[in-house]
């Protein structure tokens, strides 16, 4: 029990004193995960809706593939992105390895399948209701997608939050492509891994509590958004 009280005290202290090192790590975590989420939302929502609503060859296969990719191990994504961005890899000339950009790329790859798959399912369920209407009005593909996406907006908010949860919680991918470099690519989860490896378990757990608090805040904001928009 002592470990937990100590961790809680550490967490409170870090938050109250607004430790600059912590702020930097939190800032980078948010920047990386939110950017990845933005990219994944822009790719994933239309993709998921298209698979659900439009008829095109290979669409079942694509849906199954995306479902499978939801289970992508972060460490595998990290490794693949690492090999691609390494100086000896095909995109080495860009010099992106060990930068936040590399981390954003890895997390985007990781969460696009989640956003797309969940969006597909949501839109597919909705389609049962709207199919006739869309057919009667003779909506084109673009109009169909925008109508369905906007009708499904509440459920899709949860989809987006699921993507954020996955991105902000993963450590395997950002550790490999970011390198956990202090002041450059260290984020919450890699900092937790580092403190654990230093045997400083209270600080590690304290950081974990800070991360969860942050996640709580994000979800709270999302819920507020939903409330006000509904009114």
């Amino acid at each position: 029990m002592q470990d937990f009280t100590q961790a809680l005290a550490t967490a409170v202290e870090m938050i109250v004193t607004l430790d600059t090192g912590l702020l930097r790590i939190v800032g980078l975590s948010l920047r990386v995960s939110l950017t990845a989420l933005l990219a994944a939302t822009l790719i994933g929502l239309p993709l998921g809706a298209a698979i659900a609503a439009l008829r095109f060859p290979g669409r079942r296969g694509l849906a199954v593939t995306l479902n499978t990719l939801m289970g992508l191990p972060p460490v595998v994504v990290g490794l693949v992105v690492f090999l691609l961005l390494s100086r000896s890899g095909p995109f080495g000339v860009l010099g992106l390895l060990f930068t936040p950009t590399a981390m954003i790329v890895a997390q985007t790859v990781l969460i696009v399948p989640i956003v797309a798959s969940l969006a597909r399912q949501t839109v597919e369920d909705l389609l049962v209701e709207y199919d006739d209407l869309l057919r009667v009005t003779g909506a084109g593909p673009l109009a169909t997608l925008t109508t369905l996406l906007s009708e499904a907006r509440w459920s899709l908010l949860t989809t987006v939050l699921a993507g954020f949860g996955r991105a902000s919680a993963e450590v395997g991918a950002v550790m490999i492509v970011g390198g956990n470099i202090e002041h450059a690519t260290r984020v919450m989860t890699t900092a937790i891994a580092l403190e654990t490896s230093k045997g400083d378990l209270p600080t590690a757990l304290g950081l974990g509590i800070v991360l969860m608090t942050l996640s709580l805040l994000v979800n709270f904001v999302a819920s507020l958004l939903r409330e006000t928009a509904r009114r």
């Binding site: 800032g27 980078l28 890899g89 390198g179 470099i181 002041h183």
Partner: protein, 286 residues
């Protein structure tokens, strides 16, 4: 229009948040525009040495140092792919091979620390106070007491394997180490965490051990054998092999480490009055 507002707002909100975070992070990032990437080992990072050392170098030269801390094997692999400017590790045979293969022009010795065998207070193998590391390992094997190995191809792991060899044992083979020899494939810290949880033995570098907080019932049982000596070397990754290597700034770091000033900074790093690393750049043949 009302219909689209939520998704639009989420996307807009995300974009705004990203912009904010980026702007907020920008000043710090800009100050570090001039930097080198150093592939190094977990021992230098986990022991806190870099935290003490690097600010002095950066203050003097304006060059920020970005450290990617891996096991020696992984660090060398990173450097061989051209993903680092400087390699700073501890396994002389591998370092010499790195130079021989043309990945660096020369290797410079920097400092040493030593390995210790840590173990539980009740010491089931009875090795406490031994000055003969091979004999101690033999006793641990005979007692089939839990031994946690890095198992990650790091410098420490390679040193551990060499020590088992000196004891004429090969517990990494499944049949001889069955049940008690646990290769966990992780860094020094996790290895010590595991040893503490299992009440087992482990080989650790003294620096990481001194800086390690979750010791549980572990303490140093074997130390002082010459075979536990742990030499660190530094080399600039060859700009001939990789044109993008920041040769000038990387060389400044290498030169600074072996300069009087760098050597002094290494010696000055202490925990609880104990030095963790001993500079020896001027010693021949190390």
């Amino acid at each position: 229009m009302q219909r689209r507002s939520v998704i639009g707002r989420v996307v807009l909100g995300l974009a705004a948040a990203v912009t904010l975070c980026t702007l907020g992070g920008a000043p710090g990032a800009r100050a570090e525009d001039r930097f080198i990437t150093v592939a190094s080992t977990t021992s230098t990072e986990d022991s806190g040495l870099f935290k003490a050392l690097l600010p002095a170098f950066t203050a003097k030269t304006g060059i920020a140092v970005r450290v990617v801390a891996k096991g020696t094997g992984q660090a060398i692999d990173l450097a061989k792919r051209g993903d680092a400017d400087v390699l700073f590790v501890h396994h002389k045979p591998s370092e010499e091979k790195f130079v021989a293969e043309g990945f660096a022009a020369e290797r410079k010795p920097v400092m040493y620390n030593d390995f210790v065998i840590v173990g539980p207070a009740k010491d089931p193998a009875g090795v406490k106070g031994s000055k003969d590391v091979a004999d101690a390992l033999g006793r641990i094997a005979a007692a089939k007491a839990p031994f946690v190995s890095r198992g990650d191809d790091s410098g420490t792991h390679k040193a551990e394997l060499a020590l088992w060899k000196a004891a004429n044992l090969d517990p990494a083979k499944a049949e001889s180490g069955q049940g008690w020899y646990k290769a966990i494939g992780q860094g020094m810290g996790p290895t010590l965490n595991t040893a503490a949880a299992l009440e087992g033995y482990a080989l650790a570098d003294r620096g990481t051990w001194l800086n390690f907080k979750n010791r549980g019932g572990l303490s140093i049982l074997v130390e002082g054998d010459k075979r536990l000596f742990n030499q660190y070397g530094v080399m600039l990754v060859s700009p001939a092999k990789f044109p993008h290597v920041k040769a000038k700034d990387g060389q400044s770091f290498v030169d600074w480490l072996v300069s009087a000033e760098g050597q002094q900074a290494i010696a000055a790093y202490q925990i609880d009055g104990q030095s963790l690393f001993f500079p020896n750049a001027n010693e021949p043949g190390v």
